[in-house]
Amino acid sequence: MEDTKDLLLSINNLNFSFDTQRGVVNAVRDLSISIRKGETLTLVGESGCGKSVTAHAINQLNPMPPGRVDSGSIIFRGNDLLKLKKGEIEKLRGTQISMIFQEPMTALNPVFTVGSQIADVFMTHQHISKSEAMEKAVELFRLVKIPAPERRIHAYPHQLSGGMRQRAMIAMALASPEPGLMIADEPTTALDVTIQAQILDLLNDLKEKVGMSILLITHDMGVVAEMADRVVVMYAGRKVEEAQVYDIFEEPRHPYTLGLLNSLPSNSKYQGASRLEAITGTVPDMRTIGSGCPFENRCAYASEICGKEFPKETALNESHSVWCHNWQKVQED
């Protein structure tokens, strides 16, 4: 289906679970996604849908145990990341797959200056001297538009504002010779909205300049609308819909995607309305989900088969797929 030449990363039928004291949680079930060169793919879903677990499975950041890969493969530039040894994956993390987090304060080391932390990345992976590395750090700070970069590289993380810290994190993620994939896990969730706008703008800008792909994890449909080329909607560990960003917003076919969009007070259909069309109920307990569709208990379109069998893929066009027995009913509405 896809042109493999453009393919940067593909996750194939990944099953990831956690052993907890109260049973096994199948956090990610039979998930396949692919990211092409230069594109932004967003994984969107609510708490516990498995979007972060998926992202962290790529560079093995999930704690294992209790986490474990039950089956599947993650192919990045021809290598199966799940088969790599610890040292090999560590090498990839600093050079080809970088990551930025929701709360930069917890991801930065508080006792070193931000400049020296970035210089470390250069020194570890490119074996250059400290002074050269510091010069490169200044360049990166300039690239991520931190004002007065020569001064700021000597700042400790707590001396920077939340927005500046996130910029420093982004700079660190770019400190690699061949940036391939940036995984951004809720990068703006902890930021104020005017700062969020700056960071999203910066990411879009850099994507073009550096030519990297972005895997963006978010719960915020506004961020999706702003950033995504393609969107994968997840619910309770499953991929339920995948499409170009315009199709997701304009022609959602999965009842959950539709419900998510209807839950947004900013949806244009609510001009002058006094109520939202909310999805009823809550996310099911991940330990008790059977073989059926996990959305069945909250779904207005559910029929008998939904509780028994997870639906197969229905391809609506070359990039739009939905996993729902009753997607046609959604279309009719």
Binding site: E46, S47, S161, G163, M164, D192, V193, T194, I195, Q196, A197, Q198, L200, D201, H219, D220, M221, G222, V223, V224, A225, E226, A228, V245, Y246, F249, G259, L260, L261, N262, S263, L264, P265, S266, N267, S268, Y270, S274, R275, L276, E277, A278, I279, T280, T282, V283
Partner: protein, 327 residues
């Protein structure tokens, strides 16, 4: 609006003293709320928006007298809230309640749900124990919780259900004024929509007046009838919702609306104007208008004098020299 005023806030100030630890012990003053005046009318939903540190939560808490004021007045139906002795204040709290952001930390984990919801009734000694139990069951039903779960503990509920418990507790005394402090911010969007609906349904049913504090412009825009925008401790703009959405004049309000991600991917083709810079520290806000370092329209006067909040059209006020044509 012909409705009567429930709350009048007059030039309210709430300052915190910050002590910095270290070799040189120094004190600084954080002006969380710095001269805010507003009226809340009966039956309205007054939305308060602003970014972190703008003082919106402190405003709500000071109105509820959870903080002591530094200066100014808060009147509840014409009576000064801060002049009251504790006994009379207890009387007042019958009519004023608060719903908090975090449904995890605002419920006592060691108490059963029936105890949590029934506590206001216990404190004010309303009804017999049996009547209180009935009332708790009725309240749980009202907010969409199964009364059979009344002997459970908070951790046995999901985030959305916990927020419902917090709402039931706020309803217990039949208040008329409720401060919702980021009441839906910690929830997933699908659950957030349920709670917004619940709050709106209750408002219609009981004629509550809400002070609805949130950082999420879309939520406030949907729920409120009037919106006020705060920046670093002061009101920068206030208007009816429809007016503010259509015609926001203060440069900060404009920046806020621009920055808010549209939930329409086609909207990104129209290049937005992004306001640069960070929100300054409220401990040492910029001179003059606090927004001037980030404001594209700032003139000399903005650097020197803080603009007063002035009415531009009836019911719509803004604090900006440029908008007021007074540069």
């Amino acid at each position: 609006m012909s409705a009567s005023k429930i709350i009048e806030v007059k030039d309210l100030k709430k300052y915190f003293t910050i002590k910095s630890e270290g070799a040189t012990e120094s004190k600084a003053t954080l002006k969380a709320v710095d001269g805010v005046s507003l009226d809340v009318f009966e039956g309205e939903i007054l939305g308060v928006v602003g970014e972190s540190g703008c003082g919106k939560s402190t405003l709500g808490k000071t109105i509820m007298r959870l903080h002591d004021k530094t200066d100014g007045e808060v009147l509840y139906r014409g009576k000064d809230l801060f002049a009251k002795d504790p006994a009379a204040m207890k009387e007042m709290t019958l009519n004023m309640q608060m719903i908090f952001q975090d449904p995890y930390s605002s419920l006592n984990p060691r108490k059963k749900v029936s105890k949590i919801i029934g506590q206001p009734l216990d404190i004010h000694r309303i009804g017999t124990p049996e009547e209180r139990l009935d009332r708790v069951a009725q309240l749980m039903d009202e907010v969409g919780l199964n009364p059979r779960f009344r002997s459970r503990y908070p951790h046995q509920f999901s985030g959305g259900q916990r927020q419902r418990i917090g709402i039931a507790r706020a309803l217990a005394l039949n208040p008329e004024f409720i401060v919702c402090d980021e009441a839906v911010s910690a929830l997933d969007v699908s659950v957030q929509a349920q709670i917004i609906n619940l709050l709106l349904d209750l408002q219609v049913k009981y004629g509550f007046t809400y002070l609805f504090i949130a950082h999420d412009l879309a939520v406030v825009e949907f729920i409120a009838s009037r919106i006020l925008v705060m920046y670093l401790g002061r009101i920068v703009e206030i208007a009816d919702k429809t007016e503010l959405v259509k015609n926001h004049v203060h440069p900060y309000t404009q920046a806020l609306f621009e920055a808010f991600p549209a939930t329409d991917p086609r909207a990104r083709e129209t290049k937005k104007r992004i306001v640069m810079g960070d929100v300054p520290s409220p401990i040492s806000p910029p001179s003059g208008c606090h927004f001037h370092p980030r404001c594209p329209y700032a003139v000399e006067k903005c650097r020197q004098q803080y603009p007063p909040l002035k009415e531009i059209t009836p019911g719509h006020s803004a604090a900006c020299w440029v908008v007021q044509n007074d540069t």
